[in-house]
Structure formats: C-alpha cells, structure tokens
C-alpha cells in the first residue's frame, strides 16, 4: 500500500492508492483498448490481403484481363519511409517536450540548455512533425486516387484506406491535443506540476507512433 501522506508530498494533490495520477491510469486503460481497435483493423487488412478480385494491388502489377490496363504496384515505399522517419522523430521531440516541462524550474545557462529546455519549441516541433506526416498521408491518398485506387475500388482499397485513415485520424487528434498544450504553455507556462498533462499526451503520441511502426511493417514492407 502506498503511503497517502507521501503521495501528497510527491504530487501535490489528492492522494491515490498507487501514487499515480488518475489520468495516467486511465490513459493506460485507454491505450489497452486502442490496441484491440487497431488489432481488428490490421487483422482485417491482413485477412483481405491478396483477396481483391481487381487491381490496383499493393505490391503486384495488375495486368489484363484482371485489370482493364496494366496497373503498377501502388505502394510507394521510399516516400512512406520518409514520412515514417518524420513520425518517429516527432516522438523524440515529444520526449524532449516532456523533459522540458519536468525541468521547467531549473535554471538554464547556455544556449543549448535553453533550446533543449524550451517546452514551447518541442511541443511545436512535435505538432509540426505530426502535421508533416499528415501532409505525406494526404499526398499519398491523393496520388493513389489518381492511380485508380479509391476506398470503393477493391478490398485492398477499402481495408487500406480505412486502416491508415483511422491511424491518420488518431494523429490528427494528437496534433490538436499538442496544439492545445502549446496554447496553455504560451498563455500561462507549463510548470513541473503540470507534467502529468504532457505525460498523458506523450503516452498517447508514442502509442500512435508504435501503431504506425506495425502498420508500416505489415502493410508496406512485408510482401
């Protein structure tokens, strides 16, 4: 059992059984639930892989008579590798943002300490990299549509756009969350006692990144 008095000293608010903030426990439960959500989407994509009766296909050329004309494989792995890198870098920026909030009270002397310790900068960077990833996704979706793949074309289109679209929606929600935190930071400054609200956003953000690693591996890399 956690000592309630110690918990008060540590966190400055109502003691809890575990000593953790309620929001932190809740976000972990939420992430557990989200795992099942993405597991269902990814499984459906994998079950439907290779079952489309018409092209375009993810990794294979579709030639007549299956398709009216020859259709190239649709997935552009080099471009998506870049966007994957961008998203992974956003996780690094997120880590720096949380560290900056946790250490907001410490004095900063050198320029590098000031840069590393700027929560505003790193929250902004995380949101910016997230938005860049979304830009890549918008570009990818548009070019797929031009090449003849929509959400209605075949099973691949339906399951691909729904899976990556759900992920994109999660990134969008994350960007909105980060921008909200940035607005709070600009208005009143985030202090170490606010670390938990950045911490839960960070947990969500890293989770969304990890999901992307699974999607990138299973959908793009494995033939």
């Amino acid at each position: 059992m956690a000592n309630p008095a110690a918990a008060i000293e540590h966190h400055g608010h109502t003691p809890t059984t575990t000593g953790l903030d309620h929001r932190k426990v809740a976000i972990w439960a939420f992430i557990g639930s989200e795992c099942m959500l993405f597991a269902s989407l990814i499984s459906t994509y994998l079950i439907y892989k290779g079952r489309s009766v018409t092209g375009p296909f993810p990794h294979e050329v579709c030639s007549p008579p299956v398709c009216d004309h020859v259709m190239k494989p649709i997935l552009n792995i080099p471009v998506t590798s870049v966007s994957t890198f961008v998203l992974l870098m956003s996780s690094l920026a997120m880590v720096l943002a949380l560290a900056a909030v946790e250490n907001a009270d410490k004095p900063k002397h050198s320029l590098s300490e000031k840069i590393l310790g700027s929560s505003k900068l790193w929250l902004f960077m995380t949101a910016l990299l997230g938005t860049t990833f979304l830009g890549f996704q918008a570009f990818e979706f548009t070019s797929f549509v031009h090449e003849g793949l929509t959400i209605r074309t075949n099973l691949f289109g339906s399951s691909f756009f729904t899976l990556t679209g759900f992920h994109g929606a999660h990134v969008t929600a994350g960007v909105l969350w980060l921008v909200t935190l940035l607005a709070i930071d600009i208005r009143r400054g985030l202090k170490p006692k606010d670390a938990v609200i950045v911490d839960i956003a960070a947990l969500y953000w890293h989770f969304v990144d990890v999901v992307w690693i699974a999607i990138f591996t299973l959908v793009y890399l494995i033939h």
Binding site: A29, F30, G32, L37, S40, S52, V53, T54, R152, T162
Partner: protein, 617 residues
C-alpha cells in the same frame, strides 16, 4: 483538465442544490448518476418486455396474425438489442456507479464528469435507437446484425442504419465508463482496502471493465466496416468483391462472447454480496471466487467461434472451440458450489433478495448445463438456430442476470433511497417471476428439440409446436403481471416503504456503515480497512453511523465537492447529433447530413473544451 491540477484550496463558491430537475440534469454525483441509470434502464426493460409480450402474443397460436413478418423482425431485434444494451448492461452500470465508490471507501469515481457523460450518452443512444419506431424503421437484422445480410443490398431501409449508429453511440458510453471504473478501483481505494479485501461485487465490476475495454473496440470496427459499406460504398462485406462471408461473424462474436460475461458477472457479484449477508457467513472460498471470475473472463475471449459451429470451420477449429467452451464450465461451476457452501450451515434468512439470489443459482445452472450441451459441435448442429438456444440464453440472462439484478435491487434499494421495499409485494413479484420464467422458457427446450427454428413469425398447426408455444405465452403473461408487482413496489416504497436505517440487513461491507441514503460526500472520515468484512469483524478504523446522529453537510466538514455541470450532457447531445447526420446520407440529403455532422462535431469539440478547461471542484 489542464487547470484541475492547480485546484485552489476549498472555497465554497456554489453549493449543489439537491432537489429539482436541474440538479439531476447537472449532477456529477456517482450515486445520483447510478439512480438515473437504474430508473432509465428499468424503463427500457419495460419497453423490451412489451416487445417480448407482443412476440408471445403472435406465437401463442399457429399462424398468428397479430403482427406482420416485417414487424416481427423489428420486434425480436429490438427486444434483444434493448434487453442487452439498454436494460441489463445499464442496470449493471447502475450498480457500478452506486456501489463501487461506496464499497472501496471513496467519495466519488475518478472522473465524475466523465461519469455523467457516460450516462447521457447511454440515454441519448437509447432514445436514438428507439426513435426508429416512429418511422416504423426499427432495426430488423437481429441483435447480432449478421453482415452481409445487413448490407445495403439485402437490407436497404433505414433500419440497420439506426442499429449500427445506435450501437456505436452506446459503445462510447460503455467505454468511457469502463476507463473511469478501472481508474477508480485501481486508484481510489481507502487505506487498507487491498485488492483481496475488496467486496466481491467490486471485483466482478473490475473484471467486467476489462472485458468492456477489450471487447468493445472489436465491435466498433465491425460496425465501422458496415457503416462504411452502407454509406460510402466500401466492400468489406461485399462477397462479389472477394470479401469473407465470415468476417462479420468472427469480429462480432469476438465481441459477442465476452459480452455474455459482461452481462452475467455483475449479477454474480451482486449475488456474492447478498448470499453472505443473508447466510450470516463470509463468502465461501473468496480467493477462488476472484480467480474463477478472472478465468471466466480470460477464457471468454477464446470461445467466440462456438457461435459459429454451423458454418463449417472444420474439425480442428470446432474441437478447439468446443474444448475451451467446456473449460469455462469449470470456473462457473466453482462459483455455483461456492454460493451453495456459503449458505451451507448458515442461518439463512429468506428475504426477497435472498430468494432471487438462490433462484439465480438454480436457474443459471440449468442455463449453464444446456450451454455445456451445445459446446459439443455435433450436439450444437442439432440445437443451433432452434428454440433450444432461445431457452438456453434466457435461462442464463433472465434466470441469471435479471434474477441477480433483482436480488441487487431489493438488497440495495434501502441504501439508495433510505426505505425498504415491501417484502409482501416482493414475494408476489418473486414467485410470479419464478413460475412465469420457467413456464415461458422451459417448454422452449422441447419446442426447440422438436425442430422449431428461431426468428420465425409463424408456424403451422400440424408441426407439433402449438402446446409448447401456448404454455410459453401464458408464462410470459405471468411475467408481465409479476413485473407490475415489481413496478408498483419500486414506485410505492420510495415514499411509503419502512425507514431502513443504515444497515437493515446486518451486512458486513463498508457501504452499510454510512447513513441511508448516503450523504453526497459518502464518508465523513475515509475508513481504514483491515479485513474483508469490516462491520462483522469490528477491525480497522471504520466509523459506523449511529441512527439519529445529525448528518453534516460537505461544507460543514470542509470536504470539496465537484461542481454540478451541464457540459457533459451537451457533449453527449452533440455527439448523438453528429451520428444522426449519417442517417441523412442514406436519404442522399447531403446538406442536412453535413449540417448535422459538422454542426454536431463542432458543438461536441466546443463543449468538450469548455468542460476540460473548467475546474472540477
């Protein structure tokens, strides 16, 4: 949320008014939200009951002419959907809300406003799905909504749209509540309330929340696919495009079977509170009861395909799912025997609550045994889609869940309202329910084995089903009369029941140490617990209320209380409007669709920000 961390020291700026409609609309008190859940779910229970009565009226005679085939489809679909999502689940949620904080010695749930949000989403979701009756377009694809039969090609009306969107809305409510209760139970226990000292109801509630957060996302995705197929022309369930005809069934039952335990485990928890009290003995085998609950939940994720033996999955899959299903019988049997051993040698007081609890043991066992029967694939092939299955799941859901919930209502009514329900009317209710229930559902075993299929609106006189159906229908009418006794008892006891006192049953757990009804802050002093049965053992630092003692207000005690707020209601309302917009896509009314969807989304985000940026207390 952002500013709650910096809550100022308590300043009594506003005191929550405790009466009037407004106080109920803006409440964030877990006990009042529990009461709202209870009353709302009971009303939906009556609606689902009326649907069942019409079904029985139609089937009472061969070639019944009471309703058309179309209406009959609507009736059995809405009966199932209503009883599962709008009656049994929210009745359980009523007890989660009312009891969990009391049983762990907390002043509220972890997120009181999220709790209010869950209730309002449930209410609006229930109204949304029932609004379909006004258009005579109620869902008609069964509570399981099998795709591709529910795709646009085979079911082009609004019926399925109402169902898909309604279940999505209700899922939000269940998920939000589950995150809340997991956090509450992990993080808000009173000092000394170790996990293995928690009352059994709280344990079962805890397990059910994990089932909810892991099972609901799967149905969410299955419904998203169906929604996209219907509204946007995707091909998830389009067989001509190469889709797997079993995709829906797998996704649905990966949710659907854990859902069965979501429905029954809370009732098991309630019975595990009622039986020790009325036997005057601790629960037999407490740790094993906990572990068997966990094992039931764990195995519950590995048995879904026993709903699909008839589709021809092959001998290996059939055998594996048959065996895992049989395995679930073990922890369930453990629970049955532990309840019996709890009563064994005890000084059993046969109150109405105790009778309902004992009835659960008997009737659930019958349903459990027929369940083990169709765990065997060859036997199941004879029973599947017949009335035998209808008999089975009504024994577990009516004989199990509802009996447990009735036991819980009679047991906790005095704690909720401060007054006892009438034992005399309660006995009428119990015996008529017990007789009516068995008369209704027992003959279905026979009509089922005689070959009567489920979901048919008519049968011929010469098929040998007539007598069984007549008995079933008379049983159903008796159940209707029984329910009238219950409703009368429930309503009348609110004002005219005998004053209960804080512990009318001489019960052992924490919630009985405080006044009935409990003050809004629950515990004036947070108790320190050192045993499982603090009021029997007199161990630990638990202050037992003395009747007649003045009850101080939160302000007098300096306990900070959350502000009442209407923002969760607005968030829930706008979310429901956002989903309503999708219905207009069906009618190709894009201006209206966009107005509702974007208006609803904007309103939802605005109310959510306003909610999160305002302080809790």
């Amino acid at each position: 949320m952002a500013t709650t961390a910096a809550a100022p020291p308590y300043v009594a700026t506003r005191e929550a008014s405790n009466t009037g409609l407004w106080s109920w609309i803006t409440t964030v008190d877990h006990k009042r939200i529990g009461a709202l859940y209870l009353v709302t779910a009971l009303i939906f229970f009556l609606i689902g009951g009326i649907e069942a009565e019409i079904i029985r009226l139609q089937l009472m005679q061969p070639n019944g002419t009471v309703v058309s085939a179309y209406t009959y489809n609507e009736l059995f679909t809405m009966h199932g959907t209503t009883m599962i999502f709008l009656a049994v689940m929210p009745l359980s949620a009523a007890f989660f809300n009312f009891l969990v904080p009391l049983q762990i010695g907390a002043r509220d749930v972890a997120f009181p406003r999220l709790n209010a949000f869950s209730y309002w989403v449930f209410l609006f979701g229930g109204l949304f799905i029932n609004a379909s009756w006004l258009l005579h377009a109620a869902p008609d694809g069964g509570w399981f909504g099998y795709a591709p039969l529910t795709t646009m090609q085979f079911n082009p009306g609004l019926n399925i749209d109402f169902w898909v969107l309604g279940i999505q809305i209700l899922g939000v409510s269940s998920l939000a509540a589950a995150f809340n209760f997991i956090t509450t139970i992990i993080n808000m226990r009173a000092p000394g309330m170790q996990l293995m000292r928690m009352p059994m109801f709280t344990w079962m509630a805890f397990i059910v929340q994990f089932l909810l957060i892991l099972a609901f996302p799967v149905i969410t995705i299955a419904l998203v696919f169906l929604q996209f197929d219907r509204f946007f022309g995707t091909q998830f369930y389009e067989l001509a495009a190469g889709a797997d005809p079993l995709l829906w069934q797998h996704l649905f039952w990966i949710f659907g079977h854990p859902e069965v335990y979501i429905l029954i485990l809370p009732a098991f928890g309630l019975v595990s509170e009622v039986l020790p009290t009325f036997s005057g003995k601790p629960l037999f085998g407490y740790p094993v009861m906990v572990y068997s609950g966990m094992l039931i939940a764990f195995l519950g994720f590995g048995v879904w395909a026993h709903h699909m033996f008839a589709v021809g999955m092959g001998p290996i899959a059939d055998s594996v799912f048959g065996v895992t299903t049989l395995l679930i019988g073990i922890p369930t049997g453990v629970k049955i025997f532990n309840w019996i051993f709890t009563m064994w040698g005890g000084n059993v007081r046969f109150t109405v609550a105790a009778k309902f609890a004992i009835a659960l043991i008997a009737l659930f066992t019958i349903g459990g045994i027929s369940g083990v029967m169709h765990a065997s694939p060859p036997a199941d092939l004879q029973q599947t889609d017949s009335y035998f299955v209808v008999a089975h799941f009504h024994y577990v859901l009516f004989g199990g869940s509802m009996m447990g919930i009735f036991a819980g209502i009679y047991y906790y009514y005095p704690k909720i309202t401060g007054r006892l329900m009438s034992e005399k009317l309660g006995n009428w209710h119990f015996w008529l329910t017990f007789i009516g229930m068995n008369l209704t559902f027992f003959p279905m075993h026979f009509s089922g084995l005689a070959g009567m299929p489920r979901r048919i609106y008519r049968y011929d006189a010469g098929q040998g089903f007539t007598t069984y159906n007549e008995i079933s229908s008379w049983g159903a009418y008796i159940l209707a009369v029984a329910t009238l006794f219950f409703v009368w008892n429930f309503v009348r006891s609110r004002k005219r029941g005998a004053v209960a006192g804080h512990n009318p049953w001489n019960a052992p757990s924490l919630e009985w140490s405080i006044p009935s009804p409990p003050p809004d802050y629950n515990y004036a002093v947070i108790p320190t617990v050192s045993s499982r049965y603090p009021l029997w053992d007199h161990k630990g630092a638990v202050v037992e209320f003395h009747e007649g003692e003045p009850i101080k207000t939160a302000r007098e005690l300096g306990i900070p209380m959350p502000f009442p707020t209407i923002k969760p209601l607005f968030t829930a309302l706008f979310m429901t409007l956002m989903f309503t917009g999708l219905l207009f896509i069906h009618k190709n009314n894009w201006p209206m669709a966009y107005t509702f969807m974007f208006g609803g989304a904007a309103g939802m985000v605005a109310s959510l920000y306003s909610w999160l940026l305002s302080p809790l207390e």
